[in-house]
Amino acid sequence: MKDFLESLGKKVEDALLTAGRIGIIFGQVCHLAFTPPFKLRNIFRQMEFVGVNSLFIVLLTGSFTGMVLAMQSYIALNKFGAESLVGTTVALSMTRELGPVLTGLMVTGRAGSAMATELGTMRVSEQIDALYTMAINPVKYLIVPRVIAGVLMLPILVIVADLVGIAGGYLIGVNMLDINSGVYMARTEEYLQMSDIFNGLIKAAVFGLLISLSACYQGFNAKGGAEGVGKCTTQAVVMGSVMVLISDFLLTTFMF
């Protein structure tokens, strides 16, 4: 029992330390993001990496999720004779919940892991130290562009995921489930509010911040050789995914 409590205490202590360190990096990022010189080229390069390069996987995830959602919700709604609400269900689920969360998880797996690997490799091969010795702040040069890219690109990716998800739901609803096209669209427009979309986009921006911060933190703190880099990549994906899910709950509770 004593051992269990000790190990639990250690885990809590580690978690608090990590949270504190990420908080410090976040503070530095906030300060340095508004401190000249501004390296727009670096930011655009990261935006391309996080956003444009994630587009295909987001299109795929969004469209299939929308299609599955249409089929699954049809089964439930059909029992109450409310098939016409399939479009509404798909649109609300995509914009409020599945679009942001699934996009967040996909970006964590694709871009978050790559960020952690790149920075981890730079750490263990002393490239980050080299930046410092050249009087270049590594946080400003490496972390700030990635965090800005995460915060800006996640909402754009979520808009794409929402659109293709709704389109996927429409295709299945109208062509496979024989729901009248006009009714499908009318119900969707009737119940989908701008606030639903905005709530999803706020979530997306927060997810972008958390994913990029946790990936950069893990990469910056990589130790050892190839094993250390592999470990930091795994931890970045686990931490990013967990942060997306927990913050999703908190934000949903707050914006409910």
Binding site: T121, S125, Q127, D129, A130, Y132, T133, A135, N137
Partner: protein
Amino acid sequence: MIKIRDLKKSFKTKIVLDGVNLDIEKGKITVIIGRSGEGKSVFIKHIIGLIKPDSGHIYLDDKDIVSLSESEHSSILKRFGMLFQGAALFDSMTVAENVGFPLREHTGLSSKDILTTVKEKLRRVGLVGIEDLMPAELSGGMKKRVGLARAIIMDPEVVIFDEPTTGLDPVMSANIGELMLDTQKALKTTYIAITHDIALTFRVADYVAMLHEGRIIAEGTVEEIKNNPNPILQQFLTGSTKGPLQVT
């Protein structure tokens, strides 16, 4: 030029530097020797500010750089260049982009002027026509030389070398030694190197200091070091397995 006084550093319970005192003369090559794991890298990382000491002082031209603020230290760093053990070239950049990186970040020079300076520095380290190669395409010796070109691109007052010949064959090691001598003579720069390469030490050093168990146990010119009777120093210089230094 650089005075180190009573520098101490511990990591958890392990004492790495236990009161290091050393004077590094301007315009000379000072080589710090010592066994692996004796804290040589930790020591030079203190000089450039990558690690903060637990106590002690590092004076650069009589100014204590340990207590400087981040922005003050940033301006001090522009007076330093560093060649890392693995060269630490940026994987995503070409050789020219690597070498010209400090110029691009800290000066308003045009791309054309930066490339001209890059080519001149690469020529100085014996490399021509490799500007567009990526670091992954270079041999170990070429990486070190590109790293040296990058370290001297801003014409720093002090260049620090972390194990400059580790992993290189004897001919390439000798070549790096000659490059150190040539560039130091041409640029009149202060060079500080840490190494356990005795041949390199005797080839390039104006002044040698041996770090052992967190302290400088012997120092002097090459001749003085060769004639120093300290048994630890002599065992290290001769590479004997018999003596006070134990293999653990």
